[in-house]
Symmetry: C2
Subunit: 441 residues, 2 copies
Amino acid sequence: MQPVRIGLCGLGTVGQGVLRVLKRNGSEIARRAGRRIETRIASSRTPKPELDLAGIEHTTDVFQIADDPNVDVLVELIGGEEPARELVLRAIERGKHVVTANKALIAVHGNEIFEAAQQRGVIVAFEAAVAGGIPIIKAIREGLSANRINWVIGIINGTSNYILTEMGENDGGYGIALSAAQRLGYAEADPSFDVGGVDAAHKITILASIAFGIPLNFPGAHIEGITSITPVDIAYAGELGFRVKPLAITRATDGAIELRVHPALVPKDRLLASVDGVMNAVLVNSDAVGSTLYYGPGAGGEPTASSVVGDMVDVVRAMTVDPTNRVPHLAFQPDRLSDIPVLGIEDVATPCYLRMLAADEPGVLARVAQFLSDRKISIESVIQKYREVHDENGKRWVPIVILTHAARERDLNAALAAIEAMDSIRGSINRVRVESLDAAP
Amino acid sequence: MQPVRIGLCGLGTVGQGVLRVLKRNGSEIARRAGRRIETRIASSRTPKPELDLAGIEHTTDVFQIADDPNVDVLVELIGGEEPARELVLRAIERGKHVVTANKALIAVHGNEIFEAAQQRGVIVAFEAAVAGGIPIIKAIREGLSANRINWVIGIINGTSNYILTEMGENDGGYGIALSAAQRLGYAEADPSFDVGGVDAAHKITILASIAFGIPLNFPGAHIEGITSITPVDIAYAGELGFRVKPLAITRATDGAIELRVHPALVPKDRLLASVDGVMNAVLVNSDAVGSTLYYGPGAGGEPTASSVVGDMVDVVRAMTVDPTNRVPHLAFQPDRLSDIPVLGIEDVATPCYLRMLAADEPGVLARVAQFLSDRKISIESVIQKYREVHDENGKRWVPIVILTHAARERDLNAALAAIEAMDSIRGSINRVRVESLDAAP
C-alpha cells in the first residue's frame, strides 16, 4: 500500500518526539498499520538546523502544510487557539485529516472544528489532548461504549500534581515547589494555565463531551487553581486521613452535568491518592463495568508523541472507511448529541474542609457550628489544637479545622459569609472540597 | 441504518449480563454506534424460562446460531475449547463476525481461528477474554500502536488475587481464603484453572501476541499457581517490604520472549502492590510512553458484558471496512508476525525469596551462602530470627529467609538442589520470584 504522508506543524518538544518515534519504531508501526507513515514536510517558526530533517521538507509557513496537496494528514502541534484554529479549519477544507495534541483548540473550538470535519468527511483525532500518553479518549469513546458513564475524575495536570506532591513531602510552600517544578522542566516560566486550572478544564471539558454525548462546553467549566493550598492544609488533611490532589471532575446528575476543576481532599487509601508527581490518572465510573482507572505520564515529548502517532495509525485505518461507520469525534453520533446543561457550581454538593483562625475565647466554636447548622450543614469532624498565634495587639487566635458532611455550595457560601463576619474570626476561611470517592477503588 | 443482528451463544452470568446491558443502554449504545444492536436468537443447553427473552428466539442447539442467515455477529459465551472452537469456525465459514470472551479458545486455538477469519474476511473480537471489563486489548493494540513494548505485567486472575489478599489480611491459610472466595462467588467449585495459573496463562499468552507480534504460544507459557504460598511467606515478604501478588508476565529480551505466570514478591510502594481483592490491573512498559497502568474489575457478568458489547460496537463499525484496513486481530498484520521463541524458564533471571528450615547449629548459614555464591548468586538480605521448632527427635530447627539478587533459574535450581541435600536443611526450600518493577510506578 502507498505510504501515508504526514505534514508536521510544530517542531517543539512534542514535534521532535514524534519524529524520533516515527524514525525509531517506523518498521514496527508499519507492521501494525499495514503501511508506512512518512513525514513529508515539517514546520517551525524559525529554521531548526540542529534537527536531522533528512528527507523532510522544511517550512516556516505553517499554512503551506495545510495547502500541500502531497500531505494526507496534518499534525497540529503548535498549540494555543490561534492560528491553530485557522490552520486546522484550512486543512479540513482541503480534505485533509487532522491529528492534534491541542486541548485548548478542541475544548474551545471543537464544536466548530468537528462540524467542519463532519461536512468534509475527514477525521480530527485528538488522543494526545488529554492525559498525554494515556489512551483515555480511546478507552472512554470505544472501550466503554457499552456503558452509561456516571462520572470521570482525573488528575490531569501534571504540574499541579507535582507541586502538591512536593509541598506534601517537603513541607515547603507553593513558591518553593513551583521553583522545583520549573527547574525540572515540569512547569512553564508562566505556569498560570497549569496551576490556575485552565489546562485541566480544557481536558475535562473534552472528557465530559465524550462521556456524556454533550457538545464541548468550556465556558461552563468551574475552574479553581491550586494556589490557595498551603502546607498547613496538606498537613491537616493528612491528620484527617486525606491527601490533597488537583482534580478535574465531571459527573452526570439529574438532568445536568457537573464540570469542575479544583484541588480536593481525597481519602488516603484510594488509588487516586497514590498518583504522585507529574503522573496523571483518570478514574471512570460507569454502569456496566463499574470503576476503571487509567494511569500514566500526562506530558512530555515522547509520551505525547505516543498518542499523536497512535492517532496517525487510527486515521490511516479509518481513512478509507465510509464516514458514517467511523468512531464519532465526540463518541456519540453528531446528530445524537444532547445539550444537557452544566450544573452551576452553587448547586454542587460536596463535603468540605474548612480552616479558620478563631479568637481564643469561649463559645466561638459553638457559634461557628450554629451558623453551619442554620444552613443544615452538619459537621463530620473538628480539629482544634492549641497552636495559638498572637496578632499585632497581642490578642490570641487559634486555628480551627472542620470537615463537613456533603453541603450545597450555595448553603456553604452563606454560612461561611456569616462566619467570616464574626468578630471572633480573623480573615477569610480557607476551604477545600472533599471527593470521598465512595464506590471507587 | 439497519440494526445489527446478534446471535448470543450462552446464557450464563456473562450472557445474562449482555442481555441486561443491551436492554438498559440500548439507546445510549445506538447513539454511539449509529445503529441499533438487536439480539435475534440466544442459546443455552437447557431452556431458561426464568429469563425475559421477549422478542428473542431461543434454541438449545448452539450450532443453529452459526447457521442462522439472519445473524450478522455470533457472540460466543459458552467457554472452554470445544465445542466453542467448532462453533466459531463454523460461524466464520458462514461469513459471520464473532465476538468471544473465551480466553482458552483464543490462547489455544487463536492461530487457527484468526487464519480462518482472515481468509473469510471477518472479524473475531476478544476484548472480554483478558481482564474482563478493562479495555486492555484495545489499549495495547490501538492506543500504544506507536510503541515498541518492553514488557507487560498483570494481575489478571481475580480469584488468585483475592485469595492472596485475604491470606495477607486475615492470617488464615490457603484453604480458609479459598472457602471465603467460593462463598462470595469469586472462585469456582473446582478452582484449579484459577489458582493453578492456567487462566492467567491463557490471558498473558494473548497479551504477549498483541504486544510483540508473535503467534499465540500457549504451550510456551511457564505456569505456576499460588498454592505454594503460605501465610508465613506473606508475613516474611511484608517484613522485607514486599507484598505477594499473582503475576502474569511477558517481556521482550534479546531474541526471545519471557512468558510466565507465578506468584511474586512486589515492592509495597508500587501501584501493582495496591491492587487487592478480585480487582485486575495490567502494567505496560513501552519505549515512547513509558509505563501505563489499566485497572478495573477482571470478571463478573456486567463488567465482562461491557467488553463484549464494546466489541459488538467495534465490529459494527468495522464490518463495512475493507479488511486490510481493519485493526489486525493480533495487533500486527498477519503476514508480519514474527515467530520469536519463548525463553525457557531456566534462562529467566529474577531475584528470589527463599525460605528454608535449618538445623540450629553453627555454620549452616555460611554453607548455604557458599552454595549460592558457588553459582554466582549474591544475597540481598537475610532474616534469621530465633523461632526454633523441635522435630520428632527433639532436634532444633530455625527458619532462614534469604532474598537474592537477580539469578538465572538454572543456577538457582542447582544451588538449591545442593542446599536441600545438606543434612542441616530440612525438607524442601520454598521459593518465590521477586519482580522489582524497576522503572515502574
